[in-house]
Structure formats: structure tokens, C-alpha cells
Subunit: 418 residues, 2 copies
């Protein structure tokens, strides 16, 4: 079959299945997740064997260590997938929930009911576990999903895809509830992006190149994460030990992630106490520091931080440091240089915390906690399809509820428009 | 100044203003709406004079009667704008509302706070009152707005735009809270669609050509309405008088609108009683009927309804009629031929009503009421920026709450990621 026809057939099957999924009971959906967890456990050896093929091919190809890390599925990753499936099964089913209700003067009762989006297309790059997380969330939220993984994880994706589809079948859910696109040419992405009639939302999970390609080539609504340029602001009223501890965690616990800190902002009156301590910690952790002029007083060995540095997502052990005159300057800097992802204030001052969270225009605003905590699991959402830093529909972790939207249900007794 | 620079300057000004609007008090925002209402009232003569220029130019150009109708601003339209402003002022301010809150095992308090989207770009065609409604909703919801009206309403738009901007200034809100793009070449739309860094959402209000152009040429999230192919299904357990009354209202009260009925579905066991009565009403109202084979038994003079007819938005006094075997067939027809906009069931059977509203995949599902009632005013939302029949972010009328989204606010006490 020709490639275009093949993809078209799959999206149609997914659309048809989505109407059945919409009315599937919570019990049947949870049953599917539990079967999937059991099948993953039973097929550990096979999963690792197929994954090994990808890792070996990746090494031959010279993929980076970080990339190979993301590609790898060992027993701890399989355990995590199984745990996530049982957590999602335990969460409340969002479908059918009445979120608001009011009555109009003509006695029409207006309510809003939470419903699945329909067909969710997810295009992902290296991490093969994304397919399992995406399927568990879309099944629980009553959607169909189309999985299109990248070539570097081909064997792992096909193996997991088969396990997912077998589980869906065993659970008696419609076959099209999970569709796996096998072809990994970019051409298939292009074809998928044209299926506006059948696909309700596209979620690209990958680098900037993928996100820009997707957003620039489709009329289907897209939920995406772009850059993660995250800040921690140490206020004049900060607890100093906490400021050091939280800032270091935000920078070094896993610097390659989108919610790691890239810029540290420090109130000028606390800089003299805070930065000398912070400096030693940063040196110990091997962090390269780039400092703006005023901060160089306390960090004389640091490189100069340029305008461009403040707009860069390093994803590495590099940190910008800037001293600000007050909270307003900190907020201004974050709104103008950041990427509206995850930003934190460290302060004992309640008013400063409130002002910060109200005025910082980011998906997640933290008071006295590490930006690294912006995560579906950490928030108790069971799993996530990614973190959105656009502003429409969803900001922050994209989980069950965000795979639904609300339709209006109107109960009347013969009302007409006059 | 070059056109591109001019638009770029306006969107930047709007973005800057959006940060001030985000923290503007409810009182200050309501004050602006009240001033605007007063200014509209004071400038009635001027508004009508400028509007007359557009109407005369439109007549010379040979625009249709329906188009001239949409273009016209008489005292009743000005009254309606003033009334809408005071209704929006009376509505609850959505900004800052905490919509959910929970605590994690590590004592992190997670909450979601409703915030403005930022900068809303609205591109509209004939109706000049859209500029006033859009401004009132965006101001109340703490957003900035960029108004780009069409050439046929140029004089009306410039006159209303000046009144809006003067009112914003008098109220002490930032100048960029409302930006009016004066140039009406399609080129300016293209430039606006490229301002992803400064514009958070684009709302095209106009025909299919405009919507497709916008959705196909931007990476900015778009909220749009496309077709309105709406159905009324008369169930076997319908009240016959109500069925006739509501169906006729859905078809003839204002057939040019998106929420008017295009297809009437009738349960086969009630067709013999219902259709003969309905037929007389349709003839009286001058409605052209296109009937599917089984329905022709009761409507022998009707034209044949083709596959294409069932997928057509007539916006005119034309109606498709089809007999279905049961509720499931009605739901299937609506989901497969409709545009997921507004669909109604007429039934006394509660279970049938519930099944219909759960399984029909439309923005607004009515039980025993006319599809014509899908409207921001009718729902008590004060005004609307249009009706969305996409599924992301908002389905149905787009009003105050839909011009916001929720960000996460996290209160910690030093939590880090482990």
C-alpha cells in the first residue's frame, strides 16, 4: 500500500475508534492499563533485546551519550512505566465530569461537560517510553492516539507498540484506539499533519527543529513545548541556606532538562552574603558561570554574560548570574528574557511571593521550591505528555485533564430564539 | 514608516501594555468600559455619519444586501454595544481566580491561577461592532487587543477605533491595550501572523477564506469557527408541537447564521405524524426542502438530498430532511456529516437526551431547545468574540473566561527534586 494511503487508513481507523472510546467505561479503560502493565512485565527480556539493537545502531552512528541515555530502556525504566500505568489507572476519570452549571432567565439549564479531544497525534524523537505514557493517558481520557516515533528508537518503538496494541485488543477496546505509524521518514509526519479532518490535536515531543516543522506545516491545533529558559530569583528576604540549596538543585540535579535553571537573579542587598557561598557550590559542581557587570564584583573569575546568553537555553552546566535592584526588575527580566516555562522566587516575604506569582507570565511560578519540580509525576498527575509553555488550552504539564475539553450541554423545554 | 515596521511597533506596544493590563484592577477595567459606553452614546451622530460612507461605498461596489446588513450601524446597534459594555462590566473578573488547589506528599501546595492570555489579535471582516465587543472582552479579561478590520468597514472601524482608544486613555489604561491596524491590505494580515513572539492568540472572524488563510499561515495558536452544519433530531418520544416549533425556529429565525439548522433528522416511527405538519410550516416559510429517499414518502415534492447536500452549510432557506431508524443512526449522522457546532434532540425521554448529549461530538448539544440559542448573550456571557468549533481550549461561545488560561502557582518551603 502507498504510504499516504496507509497513514490515511490509520487516522480514519483512529477517528472511528475515538467515538467508541468516548463512551468506554472507566472500568474497561483501567482494565486495559492493567493488562498493559502485565504485558510489559512479561516481555521485559524482549523489550531489552529490541532496545539493545537501537543502542548498538546509535553507538555505531555516533549518537551522543545524552542521546543514548534517553534511548535506553533498562529494568528501572520498565518499572517506571509499569508504576505510571497503575498510577494513571488510579486517577479519576475526567470524561463526563460536569464542570459548571447555571440557569438562564428562560429556564434553559446550561452546563459544561468534560469530553475527550478525539484523536491525538504524538510525534516523538528519542525516548521510546513516550509511546507507553502517551497511550496510558489517551486511553484513560477516552481518546485515540496515533504514535509516530523516531528512527533511532525504531526497534524499541515497534516492540512497545505491539505490546500496547495487543493489550488494547485483549482488553476489548477498539483496535484503532492506538495506531502505530511504522514508517519513520519525515514524509510520514508531513502526511499526518495534513489530516485535519481526522486528527484533533498534534503534540510534537522533541527538539526545536521538530516543533517548528510541525507548527509551521499544519492547520491542526498543536500543543508544544519550545524553549525552557528558567530563572531563580533570590529576593532580599530570602532564607540564605534555602536559596543556595534550591538554586543548586535547579541548576545541577539534571541540567539537560527543560526545567533546569539557566539564569540566577539576585537582589542587590543580599548579593554580598549569598553569592560568595553560592560561588563555592558552583565551583564544586563544575558549573561555568557567566556574570553580568554588577555580579562580577562577587564573581571576578566569571566570563561576561552577554545579551544573547540571557536568551540561551544551555541544557548544560552553565549559569548566568545577574544582580537586580528590586523585585520589579527581576519580574521584568524574567518576562522579557525567559521562555514562560518555570520560574522561582526564594523569599520569606509573603507579599513579594504573591507579587511574583501574579506578575511573572510563566506556565509554572514557584515560591521557595526548585524549578526542577515542574513535572507531571511531581504534581501528582500520574504521567505527562510533555510540558506546554504556550498559553492556549494548557500551560505546564500536559496530563489527563488536558487531553479533554468542555462541551456545552443545554437542557431546555422548548426554548427558541426570539 | 514602512508597513512592516508600523505593525511590528504596534504589536510590541501591545505586548508591553499586556504586562500592565495583567495587573490592572477590576475597578479600573470596569471604569474603562463605562467610559467607552458613554463615548459611544455621545458620538452617535459621528458613528452613523462614518458608517454611511461605508454603506454608500458598499452599494456602489454592489455588495450583497446581507453584507450591507452586517455593515450597518444604526441606533439599535449602538444601543446594543452600550448594553453589552455594561453587561461585561457587571460580570465577575476572571483574572487571579484560583481554580484548583492540592497539596503533595512533600507539602508543596499546587494551585492553578487564571491569567490573561496576553495579546489577542482579532482579524474581522464586515461587522464593525466586533471591534467594540472584542475590546470590551479583552480589557475586562486583562489582555491587550490588536484590531484589524476589513476594508469594507474602514470608516466605521476607524471611527469606533478612535472612540475606543480615547476611552482607554481617559481611563488611564496603557495606550497599547488597544491597537488598531489602519491598513486593510491582506499584506498586513500576513505581517501580523508572523509576530509569534508578541501575539499570543489569533482569532479570525470571517468567511472560510479568511479562516483558512490565517490557520495556514501562522505558528501563533488560532481560535476559529469554521462551518456551522447544525442538526435537529426529532426523536420517537418527541413532543410534536415542540418539535415543530423548535425546528422551525432553528431553520427560519435567521437562516444566514452559523447556528441555524441545515439538516432535520426524524425517527422513522414519528415521521408519519411529524413530517406532514412540518411540511406545511416549511412551505409557509418559503423553505426549499431536499429529502433523502425514505423521507420523500412524506415530502413527495422535495428535491433529492445528495451526499454533498448533507455536508453543505446553506446559510439560506434550504433544509435537508432524513429519516433515521434510531437514535444511534442520528448520532452517527451528526458526528459524520456535521461540523461539531450546535446540534439538538427533541425528546421527552431522559435517557435518549443523555445519550445524545454524551455521544454527539459537538461544541453545544441541546435537549429540547433551538440551535439558534448557541450564543454568548443567550448563555449569559455578556458578549462573545465568536463561536469556536475546534476542540482545543474552547468549544462554543468565546467570551471572558476563554480569553484567559490557567498557570500553576506552587508554594514551597525549600522543596527540591530528588
Amino acid at each position: 500500500m502507498e504510504l499516504g494511503e496507509q497513514v490515511a487508513m490509520q487516522v480514519k481507523r483512529a477517528k472511528e475508534a475515538s467515538y467508541a472510546m468516548m463512551k468506554t467505561t472507566t472500568q474497561a479503560k483501567n482494565n486495559a492499563l492493567n493488562i498493559m502493565a502485565g504485558e510489559l512485565d512479561k516481555n521485559r527480556a524482549l523489550i531489552k533485546q529490541e532496545n539493545k539493537k537501537d543502542i548498538e545502531a546509535g553507538r555505531t552512528k555516533g549518537l551522543s551519550k545524552a542521546f543514548i541515555d534517553r534511548l535506553t530502556l533498562d529494568d528501572s525504566h520498565i518499572d517506571a512505566m509499569i508504576k505510571s500505568l497503575s498510577e494513571v489507572a488510579a486517577l479519576k476519570d475526567p470524561v463526563g465530569e460536569i464542570t459548571e452549571e447555571w440557569t438562564r432567565p428562560n429556564n434553559m439549564i446550561i452546563s459544561k461537560m468534560r469530553m475527550p479531544l478525539g484523536v491525538v497525534g504524538i510525534i516523538f524523537e528519542s525516548r521510546p517510553n513516550v509511546g507507553v505514557e502517551a497511550s496510558s493517558l489517551t486511553i484513560k481520557s477516552g481518546n485515540s492516539v496515533i504514535l509516530r516515533g523516531g528512527s533511532d528508537a525504531y526497534n524499541s518503538n515497534m516492540c512497545l507498540g505491539k505490546i500496547i496494541k495487543d493489550s488494547v485488543k485483549k482488553a476489548g477496546l477498539p483496535d484503532g484506539a492506538v495506531e502505530v505509524i511504522e514508517n519513520t521518514d519525515r514524509e510520514t509526519v508531513g502526511i499526518l499533519l495534513k489530516q485535519k479532518e481526522y486528527v484533533d490535536v498534534i503534540i510534537p515531543r522533541g527538539g526545536r527543529g521538530l516543533v517548528d516543522f510541525v507548527a509551521g506545516n499544519t492547520m491542526i491545533p498543536v500543543i508544544y513545548h519550545d524553549a525552557g529558559i528558567c530563572h531563580t530569583y533570590v529576593d532580599k528576604d530570602a532564607d540564605l541556606d534555602m536559596a543556595v540549596n534550591v538554586s543548586m538543585n535547579a541548576k545541577v540535579q539534571r541540567p539537560s532538562t527543560c526545567n533546569a535553571m539557566e539564569t540566577l537573579l539576585v537582589h542587590e542587598t543580599i548579593a554580598g552574603k549569598f553569592l560568595p557561598v553560592m560561588k563555592l557550590e558552583l565551583i564544586n559542581a563544575g558549573v561555568e558561570v557567566r556574570a553580568e557587570e554588577k555580579a562580577k564584583k562577587y564573581l571576578p573569575d566569571a566570563l561576561d554574560a552577554t545579551e544573547k546568553d540571557f536568551r540561551t537555553e544551555y541544557n548544560d552546566l552553565i549559569l548566568n548570574v545577574k544582580i537586580v535592584e528590586n523585585l520589579d526588575e527581576a519580574i521584568w527580566h524574567i518576562n522579557n528574557y525567559g521562555s514562560h516555562h518555570s520560574d522561582a522566587i526564594i523569599t520569606k516575604n509573603t507579599q513579594a511571593g504573591e507579587k511574583f506569582t501574579k506578575e511573572v507570565d510563566s506556565a509554572v511560578c514557584f515560591i521557595n521550591a526548585s524549578t526542577r519540580l515542574n513535572d507531571g509525576f511531581e504534581f501528582g498527575l500520574g504521567a505527562e505528555m510533555g510540558i506546554s509553555n504556550q498559553k492556549l488550552h494548557v500551560r505546564g504539564p500536559l496530563a489527563l485533564k488536558e487531553l479533554t475539553s468542555e462541551k456545552y450541554v443545554i437542557k431546555g423545554s422548548g426554548q427558541i430564539r426570539v
